[in-house]
Subunit: 253 residues, 2 copies
């Protein structure tokens, strides 16, 4: 088994710890947490440290801290020549401290503490600076999920950007749906089956085949009547830009 | 049982026909289809007509044709004082021919022939011009789904607009995710679990609680690096507008 240390005790750290606890490839010997109490429900208190000097020697270190702290934390690991992986979509592995073998282990999912996730259904994008360490990294990744993808830094960044579109921006459209429901006194709940079916469709149809609606049909009468109805300037602007984008996209198909 | 006629043989007509075939309140005695072959797999050929003169007398007529044809079709029904319902989100019931009792039966879902749906999970928004007919309309709706909502025309329009945001626009963001994956040679599939989880989260969290990402965190470094990376001007513009909208929305919370 490979000895591993997880640095951080937030969303990703907790989900990763739980996944490794089920693997027989990785033994998490320690977790670094600024606030020990944040992770005592998942691992013995004596395995939690909050001082970098107390870090044990291990084969691999997972840096699962807020993006802005990743680089700084990488320089605080008191060992060299170890595999050090961060879990961010948008941080170059070259920005980690070069005393260790730098890599990325980016799970393409949205984690929150309140939701349980099956890690074996989560794609993980991996990258490492030294070819000779790739195999080990791959073995580690496969121990928690069959969905392992080797990517370049450019691709990881592109995946992160695409994730912003299909996750953060999509959720913002849900927020707008909620605002429209609040303003017009109907239950947001009415939109739920539609939201779920819109996502479910994409499992079997590609998004171009699934596209419907007034913009796709070029139904200017409906579009104009919707724009007339919308009083919130921000909603109007988003409606216009996305409608135009759907119309232009249709022309390219 | 109430005798019903369905006019149209497209997505909504077919799903509605299948739902009514399971109800013991509605007996679909006839379907009007310009192209009879389009619906012979669901109902006996002798019950399909393609001439309005052949329409039988019934208690209720469902106009499930393309939006632009709804008004014209309503005037071709050779009866009066019947309940005539259209299924559109964005058509005023007053625009139907006034010789009949006009109403709406708007299912808030995205239908395609290739996907089976359980009608009992679909919300239906109903509206009728004559109060005395409301009860019948409600009974009819409850015969296919428990999710029956009485709405005003204004509300129905608002729901339709919200549906454009959470369905058509969301699907367009999936299309953009697909474009980014094609351009950067990674599999769109990598985004699937994230897409499904983003929708699933909304069942238990409200969209404000579920919002995450660089815009929500005000992480300008990541936002700038994403904008630098994007070369497609349209993607850039959508990225900027939605990011700004998330930032402004956060300030209101
Ligand atoms: N959440 C997701 O959906 C997701 C998905 C894919 C990748 N990621 C990536 O995973 C990483 C962690 O994200 P997360 O969502 O787990 O974050 P999070 O829930 O906000 O947790 C951040 C963790 O970092 C710790 N931390 C922050 N600054 C630190 C510092 N200067 N020194 C030591 N520890 C520090 C925090 O400690 P305190 O609790 O003491 O503040 C906390 O344990 C990030 O690189 C992120 O981009 C996240
Ligand atoms: N699809 C959805 O997701 C959805 C959801 C909620 C509400 N709606 C509403 O439901 C209604 C029907 O939509 P749909 O998606 O079922 O449309 P669809 O699949 O495109 O089918 C349209 C039907 O209307 C018929 N039609 C068109 N013009 C006609 C005319 N002049 N005379 C007679 N029949 C005509 C078509 O006949 P041909 O096959 O011969 O062209 C076809 O049977 C619309 O009002 C729509 O707004 C749709």
């Amino acid at each position: 088994m490979y000895k591993a240390v997880i640095i951080g005790s937030g969303n990703v750290a907790q989900h990763l710890l739980k996944a490794f606890q089920k693997s027989d490839i990785i033994d998490v010997i320690q977790v670094f947490a600024r606030n020990k109490g944040s992770i005592t429900h998942l691992i013995d208190a004596e395995k939690i440290v909050s001082n970098f000097d107390e870090l044990l020697e291990a084969s691999v270190y997972f840096i699962c801290v807020s993006d802005h702290a990743v680089v700084e934390v990488s320089s605080k690991i008191p060992f060299s020549n170890k595999l050090v992986l961060h879990t961010a979509g948008n941080i170059a592995i070259e920005s980690l401290d070069p005393k260790n073998i730098r890599g990325a282990f980016y799970p393409v999912q949205t984690f929150s503490k309140s939701r349980d996730l099956d890690f074996s259904k989560i794609p993980v994008c991996i990258e490492v600076e030294l070819e000779s360490r790739y195999k080990v990294l791959e073995i580690i990744a496969f121990s928690v999920t069959p969905l392992v993808y080797r990517v370049t830094s450019e691709q990881r960044k592109a995946i992160h950007i695409a994730a912003v579109f299909v996750n953060n921006f999509v959720n913002h459209l849900y927020e707008i749906g909620k605002e429209i429901s609040d303003n017009n006194l109907f239950l947001f709940q009415i939109l739920q089956p539609l939201i779920q079916e819109t996502a479910a469709k994409i499992i079997t149809l590609n998004p171009d085949e699934a596209q419907t609606g007034p913009a796709k049909r070029g139904d200017m009468q409906t579009i104009d009547s919707h724009l007339d109805f919308l009083t919130n300037e921000n909603h109007k602007e988003i409606y216009q830009l996305l409608t135009q984008s759907i119309i232009n996209h249709g022309k390219k198909l």
